[in-house]
Symmetry: C2
Subunit: 489 residues, 2 copies
């Protein structure tokens, strides 16, 4: 049991800045007052403890207030990916039995569609119900207490493969993740964490919660915008920013020769293995990149490279956070499934005992990701097991082939997936984005691969595309590529 984090922060450091969004900012005292008011409004609407409340909104200050206010009334937050179709949202809402759906103006129409599909769902317009009133006048009647074992939120994993699963994250999962992160990255009084990832993904949500646990400022962006990120870095003394590889590449491109400000002490790079070339480019520019291996099911970071190892272990997300245990499981060899346990790991998938039982075996959560540890105990993530290509009895790891292709001068980005093949079971094929002004034929590239890779790893076909499909979190949608063919060879 533990007092409400924001309450504690409003008590301990009331005048520190808690949130910056657009041209407005809130101190912890102000944010606390606003959250009190929002919680009162939630109560007036009839939202009760333990009810599940879906939120379909873009990042904004009200989203932040809602996150903390739902915790204050004891309701469970169910953030919904705003890119989903109404059908997909209906499925998630019904899956977790959410009784309420809060939406913003932009998502009003889709919320209406969803409401027509879900019996008994109560739909709330955030603008109408949560307009900010004179919040300063509200007084706390009782302090809220968080049960660290109670569910705080249900986040659906991105669902690039299979059907979405709702990871039930407790207050304790978030707390321990924030603590583990601080014990790795350190905790500076002047830290300002830039959140340009969506709050419906764990990478964004976790920044909010760390903010109130640490007592540090969060700069929130409505969405990822390269120029806005660069402006925030240059003008708002951002010390930590969470990004995925494609975002970071765009930020670097846009900056050109302009050095990063010395205030920036950590670029947390998540969303899957990063291209080595990008990491080397950052090293050259002295960008303090720390790769992280994160999972929704573990409340964000699982392993993160420590500052002192950032250059020495390029390409590794380092070692597990304090409090997280990580093992490589598998039959022989070094590469195996990454399994974890510890206080950051969720208890279960919501309403999906089958998926929960499959994920938890012998007390360890099976991530489905493949990796290995080097001789110093640093983790390297090789691939999602779901992406594994088995070709003629040989295991083929797309990441290995991609690394080779990405090192080719003409190639900006490449992805390898398996497609069914009558003879070999599966064969790898590649989708390639060429650099502007560069050219290369499929034959050239296959020959180039042949110089670096065993025969069975050479992509059977190479397709040239304009761009690769990614979800809003920047994660490559491999499934969207797998099995298709005939694009522009």
């Amino acid at each position: 049991m533990m007092q409400d984090w924001l309450t504690q922060r409003a008590m301990r450091s009331p005048e520190r800045i808690a949130l910056i969004f657009g041209n407005e900012s809130w101190t912890f005292r102000e944010l606390d007052a606003r959250v009190m008011e929002t919680a009162r409004q939630l109560g007036a609407l009839g939202i009760e403890k333990n009810e599940r409340v879906a939120v379909l909104m873009r990042n904004c200050d009200l989203y932040v207030a809602l996150v903390h206010a739902l915790a204050r009334v004891g309701a469970v937050l169910v953030p919904i990916n705003t890119r989903l179709t109404a059908n997909e949202i209906e499925w998630q809402i019904e899956n977790v039995g959410a009784q309420w759906l809060v939406h913003d103006d932009v998502n009003a129409e889709r919320a209406g569609e969803v409401a027509r599909g879900v019996v008994g769902l109560r739909v709330i317009s955030s603008k109408r119900e949560f307009s900010l009133r004179s919040s300063e006048t509200f007084h706390r009647n009782a302090s809220t207490v968080f049960d660290l074992d109670a569910p705080h939120a249900i986040l659906f994993t991105s669902g690039t493969t299979g059907k979405p699963k709702g990871a039930v994250l407790t207050y304790g999962n978030h707390w321990w993740n924030a603590i583990g992160s601080a014990l790795n990255l350190g905790l500076h009084e002047d830290d300002v964490w830039l959140a340009c990832l969506p709050l419906f993904h764990i990478g964004g949500l976790a920044i909010l919660l760390r903010g109130v646990i640490y007592g540090n400022a969060v700069v929130l962006h409505e969405a990822f915008d390269t120029d806005a990120v660069n402006r925030a870095l240059d003008e708002q003394r951002v010390t930590i920013v969470s990004l995925v590889s494609t975002m970071l590449a765009r930020v670097l491109d846009a900056r050109g020769e302009k050095p990063f400000p010395p205030t920036l002490r950590s670029v947390l790079l998540g969303g899957g293995p990063a291209p080595k070339e990008l990491l080397e480019r950052c090293a050259k520019l002295n960008v303090p990149v720390m790769q992280t291996y994160g999972l929704t099911e573990a409340a964000s970071q699982v392993a993160t490279l420590a500052p002192q190892d950032a250059l020495r272990k390029l390409g590794s997300p380092g070692k597990p956070l304090m409090g997280v245990e990580l093992r490589i499981e598998g039959e022989g060899g070094n590469v195996g499934e990454i399994v974890i346990r510890g206080a950051t790991v969720m208890r279960e998938y919501a309403e999906d005992s089958e998926a929960s039982a499959h994920a938890f075996r012998d007390g360890w959560f099976h991530t489905g990701d493949l990796g290995y540890m080097d001789e110093d105990g640093f983790l390297y993530v090789v691939s999602r097991r779901d992406d594994l290509i088995v070709s003629g009895g040989e295991n083929v790891y797309p990441a290995e082939i991609e690394a080779v292709l990405n090192a080719h001068l003409a190639i900006q980005e490449a992805v390898v997936v398996g497609v069914a093949d009558a003879r070999w079971g599966q064969i790898p094929i590649a989708y390639v984005v060429l650099r502007a002004g560069q050219n290369a034929s499929a034959e050239e590239l296959k020959m180039y691969c042949g110089e670096k890779l065993a025969r069975f790893k050479i992509p059977a076909q190479i397709f040239f595309v304009e761009s690769l499909p990614r979800n809003v979190g920047g994660k490559l949608l491999r499934r969207a590529l797998g099995g298709e063919s005939g694009v522009n060879e």
Copy 2:
């Protein structure tokens, strides 16, 4: 459940410095190896899980190894104050049923005396049994797991009043205290914490445990030595030092005009309310003093002034750490008993259900200390309730009278205690240390007090003394003064 902290640190940051003692230093990898070896030796001696092991030693590297090694075999550390008489030690050992006593050379004779008094006690010479061998060759066979609810150590409260009580501190108590402290003071990668307090007091022991939780270096001194402290500050990049008021005053005196190095970011000042004059002197010299209110029963810090409030709230130990709740209990008025609860608070006093029941009422630990909160929620500690003087039905708080006396130009230090009086029940008397070269008569000082204080608060007698009795932790031994009389008036 959580992996052994030192194991985690040796895994996460093996090459960082963990400990500096004398001219030697150990990285986390080296300390881990040494602790492995010490744990093996403990096992070879027959020390088993859950056994209570008394340690009678001065601060040294072996003490550090023992602290971590006892945790690794699951034995409970019982640190013994080296200033105690053999009789007092016997009492403590019998009270907690310790089966083992580890001592260093200096304390060999007293350990022998103790052994003669305690049936079945096994006495171990640290030098003979734990000499360091080629520790690098030992391999971990299994990682140790800490149960956060299991007892880690039993520390006797200093016993300046009443009989000593053994506070049973769990792994969780230490962990949460370390986290709460970090969430207040921040966590810098280059932090170096100077430990010149004895390891048998919580203030010293907690530094060791924070070190392995944070992954930061600890500089350990055998005992408090003014010059050694100043050398460490100037030459070893110490960022945080824990001191009590008298120590800090001596450090300031010895430095003269020499400024403190910019690397020093926090002087944690514990051991009871600090003289305001000392705090003002520090403010003038830009010494980053942060007063702390600590208790053995809460694994050290309970409330600590945050860096941003250091000057604004001089004299206050600030607000409770994250995870600690603090209330003022009492009948009307502002001043009342300080009561606390939270994850840092011990579960019980060892083998003393009466004291435990008295301390824990309605789930709150009653500290016996008196204090109040100002309008911004900052704690001010007024006095130990045990020191409260009740005179003619009026409550007299020694701290109030002492503050007045301490403000007198001729007075270096003053203490006020109650003595029995036929007419009033109790009356306050004062012991005063004059500044070198200054003079004042008892009559003068009584008149001076009469200008500032209600009649019943004026000390009935004022005794001039050379110095005030303090325990090794720097805590004033009021009991040693109470009721005595006739010293040199």
